[in-house]
């Protein structure tokens, strides 16, 4: 029986603790990750998935259609497979050809729709989709694993599990574009559907179905190569394959550009943590589940590989953490009062940030009844216009700024290192980039992605005005602060909406921003390829759409089927 003492521990962690990039860059997937939410929903609502058409020739060129039907709506993944020469294979969003391209159609497409999409989806930057499509994406093969699996299956044997685990996916997507990009439907017109209440559900539905198509494609190509001998990939090995993703700087500004959304994600997670810490007594079943998933996590960490020094260091830390944690858990008394709070406090003293954030995600696992409902508080579907309250006095604004941005005064803004970087969009690639302010000609193109520096500049200019003056008057004279005043008024009402770090300092690691976002997606196996882009894996361990039943475990992401 649920035993939560709301009175004893209701405090959420302070934003000054949570919103540091070093911590955000250590987040792990949890019950509140969007993939986990999607899987629960399609299980609980008994969604039906169907392969409608698989029209791919012996060269691997053609298209396929898969449908997903929920209680009210049907969605169709339309996949286009291409014959891509090796030299054209690049994960960069600025590439112009891919192994496969995809769109998620709202409903069941007609033949005319397929013809229209065939002419547009593979083209990407110049192609257009319509309000009937929800999103657009493209993917490339992991050539190494693809070739190994094809050669094994076509020879009638199963591929080597070690090789599968060393890559983790057969294809990796570059970006999955929603929100009206390339002409797709605007999110606001579909976000009131019950299946899209949590963030990024249709983008992830499309990835979930892409994984199915990729499995079909590899089986098909093996069969083409040796029709008499080829075997299908063993389903247990299939579980081990996720969909990879390369994520670069294009996604890094997202957290800065969507402060309310960021707040809602973190607030949900912090609320969940607070609820779990408030559990007075853990049942035997809850403790057992926690320990079982802990053991599985140790195996998962063992599969996590990275060649990047930053992640290698983190993996070493987590390995030490696990040794320390295992020892502690051996003697841990789950019968104690507020066991999770005790574990949480111990982890703060004894584990690295990776370890602390891992244990936070893990202790939420037995408590679906406390956590899962928070999934539906994580969107910001209205994304409405935020008007500035210009009737506030300069004195009020100054006070507000000191309250929410007090931490910026600990940074020496006169120092070169604090201003070393600038975010800009490159003329050639039309994508966000991070440059060196003092050695590249980029400053005049700077994007407004340095809220801390901008808040500091605002505070300096406010000092030249009397406290009683209206901020509306100030803004007529100083329009360059308008975006910062608006942001300040948003941040004041949303405690977890701002990153408490300098986003243009010489020490900035953009991968921390990427990891935060991707952990909320439910990604695992973060493998930074530099300080600016990262590879991850999605839906590893999940059942395939045609295996969905109401008996699917909540804990697929711990590789239950292995």
């Amino acid at each position: 029986m649920l035993d939560v003492d709301q009175k004893s521990i209701t405090e959420l962690r302070d934003p000054s603790e949570v919103m540091k990039l070093s911590r955000m860059g250590s987040f792990h997937q949890s019950r509140l990750s969007f993939m986990r939410i999607l899987m629960r929903q399609i299980r609980d609502e008994n969604w039906k998935f169907k392969k409608e058409e698989f029209n791919v020739n012996n060269k691997g060129v053609g298209h396929a259609i898969y449908s997903a039907t929920g209680p009210k709506n049907t969605y169709s993944l339309i996949a286009f497979a291409h014959d891509l020469p090796d030299e054209k294979r690049s994960d960069r969003v600025i590439a112009d050809a891919w192994d496969a391209t995809f769109t998620l159609y709202d409903g069941s497409p007609s033949e005319e729709d397929i013809e229209r999409l065939k002419k547009n989806v593979p083209l990407q930057e110049v192609g257009r989709i319509s309000e009937n499509e929800l999103c657009l994406s493209r993917a490339n093969k992991s050539v190494r694993l693809w070739d190994h699996i094809i050669s094994s299956l076509s020879a009638g044997c199963q591929p080597d599990v070690k090789q599968i685990d060393s890559v983790g996916y057969l294809m990796r997507t570059t970006a999955v574009y929603g929100s009206g990009k390339f002409g797709a439907v605007d999110r606001e017109f579909v976000s009131d559907r019950s299946e899209f209440k949590a963030p990024f559900q249709y983008e992830l539905l499309s990835v979930f179905m892409i994984r199915w198509f990729v499995l079909d494609l590899v089986n098909h190509m093996a069969k083409v190569q040796n029709p008499d001998k080829a075997v299908q990939l063993d389903s247990k090995l299939g579980y081990r394959l996720g969909i990879g993703n390369s994520t670069g700087l294009g996604m890094a500004p997202f957290l800065l550009n969507h402060p309310v959304l960021l707040n809602n994600w973190i607030l949900a997670k912090e609320t969940a943590l607070s609820r779990v810490r408030s559990v007075q007594k853990s049942s035997t079943e809850e403790s057992r589940l926690f320990l079982e998933l802990y053991e599985k996590s140790i195996i998962l960490f063992g599969l996590w590989r990275s060649d990047h020094p930053l992640q290698i260091k983190k993996l070493k830390e987590i390995s030490n953490d696990l040794a320390c944690l295992s020892k502690y858990l051996e003697k841990f008394d789950f019968e104690t009062k507020y066991p999770w709070d005790k574990l949480f406090n111990w982890s703060k003293e004894n584990l690295s940030m990776e370890g602390q954030e891992f244990i936070i995600s893990l202790m939420m696992e037995p408590y679906g009844n406390l956590v899962d409902e928070l999934a539906f508080t994580m969107s910001d579907n209205k994304q409405s216009y935020v008007k500035i309250d210009g009737l506030k006095s300069i004195g009020d604004i100054r006070k507000q700024l000191n309250e929410v941005y007090g931490w910026i005064f600990n940074i020496d803004w006169e120092c070169t290192d604090s201003n070393a970087r600038a975010w800009y969009v490159s003329q050639e690639k039309l994508e966000p980039r991070l440059g060196e302010r003092f050695s590249e000609p980029i400053e005049s193109y700077e994007q407004p992605l340095s809220p801390a520096r901008d808040a500091y500049r605002l505070s300096k200019d406010l000092d030249n005005f009397g406290g009683d003056e209206l901020i509306a008057n100030f803004l007529i004279l100083k329009p360059e602060h308008r975006h910062t005043i608006r942001r300040l008024q948003i941040i004041s009402n949303h405690p977890y909406s701002e990153i408490h770090d300098n986003t243009i300092g010489s020490q900035l690691l953009p991968i921390d921003m990427l990891r935060c976002k991707l952990s909320f997606f439910g990604a695992v196996h973060f493998d930074p390829r530099s300080d600016r882009w990262v590879r991850i894996c999605m839906f590893k361990g999940a059942p395939y759409p045609n295996q969905i039943s109401n008996s699917i475990s909540d804990y697929w992401s711990y590789l239950e089927g292995f």
């Binding site: 960069r92 439907v185 017109f189 700087l249 008007k387 590249e440 509306a472």
Partner: protein, 205 residues
């Protein structure tokens, strides 16, 4: 071409910035353009006319009842934004305003439902904006009076619900807006090519 509102929003913000507006105003402009598009106006074309005009000015006396600028016509964005910042409920007279349509989105956000009257236009909130008489708004108005309609029964606040889900934009207009946006992009250097996205490692595996 047929674009989504999010595309229109990004393009408007980028074009406004490219035309030299501060980021905060660029945000306001993109809001106004999308609001008007959702209410059936060809606002991308209006935006282009607005960005092409360099001789408009912010009101200099926003604490008074008649807003004006001695240098020339009022800038509708800066005027609309100031009306909203101050949450105006009293009667304000604007003397000489360029593209009065562009202040409407801001007036629509005021707490009180407002009436807009000019020498050749009248927008009554309770009739909505789709009264055929107001389908077209002039390129400028000598005088525009903004007053509260408090006391009048209003069923729907103007522009509350989008009337359309997509936006048709003339290709030439879209390309001109792209040219404005292009000014916000940094030219490529060898360094940015190498380091800007942090590449250097092979994508393939």
């Amino acid at each position: 071409m047929n674009v989504s509102f999010n595309e229109l929003k990004s393009m408007s913000k980028g074009a406004a910035r490219g035309a030299g507006f501060d980021w905060g105003y660029a945000e306001e402009i993109s809001f106004a353009v999308v609001w008007l598009a959702k209410n059936g106006y060809n606002s991308a074309t209006t935006l282009l006319t607005f960005l092409d005009n360099k001789t408009i000015y912010p009101p200099t006396n926003i604490n008074e009842n008649i807003w004006t600028n001695d240098k020339g016509d009022l800038d509708p964005i800066k005027t609309g934004v100031a009306l909203l910042d101050l949450n105006i409920s009293k009667t304000i007279v604007l003397k000489g305003i360029f593209l009065p349509l562009l202040i409407v989105p801001f007036v629509s956000q005021l707490k009180n439902v407002m009436l807009l009257e000019g020498n050749n236009l009248k927008l009554v909130a309770e009739n909505g904006f789709f009264d055929s008489k107001v389908k077209y708004l002039p390129a400028r108005a000598d005088v525009l009076k903004i007053s509260s309609t408090q006391g009048t029964q209003v069923f729907n606040k103007i522009g509350e619900y989008p009337l359309t889900k997509r936006c048709e934009v003339d290709n030439d207009v879209w390309n001109r807006l792209k040219e404005f946006t292009y000014r916000t992009y940094a030219p490529v250097t060898d360094e940015s090519r190498m380091l800007g996205a942090g590449s250097g490692l092979s994508d393939n595996d």
